[in-house]
């Protein structure tokens, strides 16, 4: 056993509530002691389920163990707690890339780059993935090709807003990581804006929750946004999702609110079915 691992182990034993498990598990992981790293990380996660660092660490360990679906879940958890966590964004981008979904990989790397514009490794990864996306052949160093993993938050084939209950356009359902679950959103020039907006919404929801909680206003229910030309309502159909409904400014805001309520109910029952 090397010195730092021994020191960390002693420290963790003396103070089980300390965050020493993060360093210890990481040291073990780097030395390839993946089972031991996993045990330490799992213990720490049990104690600190709300710590993004712990989920990020667990994801790295699972990824090293080849449990890519598990790593995806753990990085998603890290992102739910800290939507700008570049390590998790890079991790998920890597998994998408391995699964052959270059667009999703690029989207995650772009978010990582926005979160930390000074990290050169993100720019390098982006450049590489973009290069690969233009080349027809699969990336050479991924051979033998791993079985594509299906991300847990992948959109279901249908959508809650296509069954005639709602107009699909102008309704967007987003998961806690800012990934689009269903719906479409067009910009004024007709271009699709859904993914761009979705990426922002997870952060909006987190900030709204924090503001109402710290200001003694309870749990957040909705955000109504009046913009010249459009009325928007944001709600949280479940604790893990955000729903955006947007209509032309000629629609009274209160009516957009009613549409949003109905869309939220539809989304909830759809999520129960597909979940």
């Amino acid at each position: 056993m090397s010195d730092d691992i021994r020191t960390l182990t002693t420290r963790l034993a003396e103070e089980p509530s300390s965050l020493a498990f993060l360093e210890l598990a990481e040291s073990l992981r780097q030395r390839g002691k993946l089972d031991a790293a996993y045990k330490v990380a799992r213990g720490g996660l049990g104690r600190y389920p709300g710590l993004a660092d712990a989920h990020d660490l667990m994801a790295r360990i699972l990824s090293d163990r080849g449990d890519l679906a598990g790593a995806f879940d753990a990085w998603s958890d890290a992102l739910r707690l800290d939507p700008l966590r570049t390590g998790a964004l890079k991790g998920i981008a890597f998994l998408y890339f391995r699964a052959g979904d270059v667009a999703a990989a690029i989207a995650h790397l772009e978010r990582a780059s926005e979160a930390d514009p000074d990290d050169p490794s993100i720019h390098q990864a982006l450049a590489r993935v973009r290069r690969e996306s233009t080349a027809a052949a699969p990336p050479p160093d991924t051979a033998p090709a791993p079985a594509p993993i299906s991300p847990p938050a992948a959109p279901a084939p249908d959508s809650p807003f296509t069954a005639g209950v709602e107009d699909e356009r102008g309704v967007l359902l987003v998961d806690a990581n800012g990934m689009r679950l269903a719906g479409e959103l067009s910009a004024d020039d007709g271009s699709e804006a859904g993914d761009r907006v979705a990426a922002q919404l997870a952060g909006v929801s987190r900030e709204a929750a924090r503001a109402t909680r710290l200001l003694g206003l309870g749990t957040w229910q909705s955000i109504a946004v009046e913009s010249p030309g459009a009325h928007l309502i944001l709600t949280a159909p479940t604790s893990e999702t955000v729903l955006l409904v947007t209509r032309d400014a000629s629609f009274p805001m209160a009516r957009v609110g009613l549409i949003a309520d109905r869309a939220a109910r539809t989304a909830r029952s759809w999520l129960e079915q597909v979940g």
């Binding site: 420290r11 103070e15 300390s18 965050l19 020493a20 710590l51 993004a52 660092d53 707690l81 800290d82 700008l84 979160a115 930390d116 514009p117 924090r210």
Partner: protein, 154 residues
């Protein structure tokens, strides 16, 4: 993140998570590092701490000279990143924080959660600091000699 004593970790972690600060350095008023997040090299940390402590000390001296009360915080706003320096009281004496943050957060958010961290540190500090004596070996002089010789190439 690294902290000299474990009780500093949880308050600092929650400050980092809420404020989205890029770099944070906690130091004593004489510039000794107590905890840090986001720095690469330990020697760079020491330089940042020396300079930060120097700025705070000289600003406090300036405030005293002008007969005013201490400054709460110093803000340096840059186009890509900004920096806050603030001295605060802890059960372990006066400490200084150096926080570097970018446009993904704001001065108001950093200060709000910084104040929360100061309060959490005040309650988290154990009453009696543990002060074990470092056991330097009896022949540490030889090691010191060898280290300095190696260092200065003699």
């Amino acid at each position: 993140m690294r902290a000299l004593e474990p009780w500093v970790e949880a308050p600092l972690q929650s400050f980092l998570a809420e404020s989205s600060a890029r770099l944070t350095l906690l130091m004593t008023s004489s510039g000794q590092v107590v905890a840090q997040h986001g720095f690469g090299r330990s020697l760079d940390i020491m330089t940042a701490a020396a300079l930060g402590a120097g700025i705070v000390a000289s600003t406090e001296e300036l405030a005293r000279l002008m007969g005013g009360s201490r400054f709460e915080a110093l803000m340096h706003q840059g186009s890509r990143q900004s920096c806050m320096l603030s001295a605060f009281s802890t059960p372990r004496g006066r400490w200084i924080a150096l926080v570097v943050f970018g446009p993904e957060t704001s001065v108001g958010i950093v200060r709000l959660f910084f104040d929360a961290m100061v309060q959490q540190l005040a309650t988290a500090a154990p009453r009696e600091p543990v002060r074990p004596t470092p056991l330097l070996a009896e022949d540490f002089e030889h090691e010191l000699d060898a280290s300095l010789k190696a260092l200065l190439g003699r």
